[in-house]
Amino acid sequence: MPVQIRSALTHALPAETASAELLEQLGELDARVVFFFCSHYHDGAELSRRLRERYPQAEVVGCTTAGEFVQDRGGEAGVSALALGAGKVRAAHVALARLGEAPEAAVRAAAERLAAAAGAPLRELDASRHAGVLLIDGLGMHEERVNEELGRVAPLLSFVGGSAGDNLEFRQTRLFWNGVSVSDAALLVLLEMAVPFTITKTCSFAPTAHRFTITRADPATRTVYEVDGEPVTRAYARAVGVRPDELDGAVFMRHPLGIMVDDEPWIRSPQQVLPDGGIRFYCQILEGMEVHVMRPTDLTGETRAAVGRAREALGGAPGGALLFNCILRRLELDATGGHPQFHEAFRGFPAAGFHTYGESWLGHINQTCTGLVFA
């Protein structure tokens, strides 16, 4: 059987040179879908056009990033790519949702287009054979609404993905599909898999004894004001052992909040203390939710363990993976020099991914490495 999967990584610029290097690494392949993740310095539309020219049977989808990686290396200001042949993905369908003021309606319409292409409503598709990938604008703050709508139209399908980045410039993120470049949008990719697959989600946190109930919050701005009836800065600072005026990015990165579901944390990362006393998060937290203050564990060890669980679920070594790793995890790896150990977790199979402004699976999440792992 011809090669069914290859990954590629380049740091070349401009798009013409980068695409040539990617194509050389991807080589001969009857690709059904090509995912690529590029820096905001690259002309992603041009990259996708050139990849599509080379693989005309493939849907070519991608987005801008806060760093790119493949199984054994990574960096910033580059392009990573993963090409999947018919032996991995029987069919791939893509729909663009221009989110604007009505993200739910846009997702519903996109889901209908996917359903028409797949020949059945998404909620009726066999979830053991179909997986979804969601790439979404990383600055529009629409992730929760988009994930909730996906829960309505396809409650049993796993849409896994990431929010596009611009390497911490926070100016504009973009998505790309077969030569088209869009912002304020989401790309929904429906994959009919030819091989078994599983979803991996790992973070490097464990709950502490400190837990709160959110008593005042503004979900629209992802801000929490009070927990257990007390100003959030005071209660949170006390729990992590600092003064309220010492709360900063370093504290936040080590002590996010986690919603525990079946002993599994779903992380909400604090972003900043606001002048009005609230703490803004990278993810919504609703009033009434119970959250735990988390403590850091071993990022690379947890990542290895997650790949081990995926291996178990697949009944053997993975054949490939598409990965979405939070920018905050990248910053931790930058600070600790842990990138080689992070890549080591994916040794032995082709993988590609990017450092995100948020991950998606069943909802919007932070500070995870989440992805689609397949045989």
């Binding site: 909620r123 994930n147 909730e148 829960g151 309505r152 409650p155 049993l156 796993s158 959110i214 919603i259 579901v261 079946d262 779903w266 609703l286 009434g288 939710m289 119970e290 069943l362 909802g363 919007h364």
Partner: protein
């Protein structure tokens, strides 16, 4: 249905498997904060909470 426990029981039957139940329950927790696998005694019969959970599950297409 007037309690979260009744909803949990109905959803278990409707879902048909632990995996499906787990997926729906996770979506429910992220959306409402209510975990049907760890129902708090004070929430079990709280009418507002029960209605919130029922509304979310109906939107998912579970429980009519």
């Amino acid at each position: 249905m007037k309690t979260l426990e009744e909803i949990r029981h109905a959803l278990c039957q409707h879902a048909g498997s632990e995996v499906v139940f787990g997926m729906i329950n996770t979506r429910l927790v992220l959306r409402t904060g209510v975990n049907l696998r760890a129902i708090k005694p004070e929430a079990d019969r709280d009418a507002a909470t029960v209605q919130k959970v029922l509304a979310a599950l109906r939107e998912f297409g579970y429980l009519s």
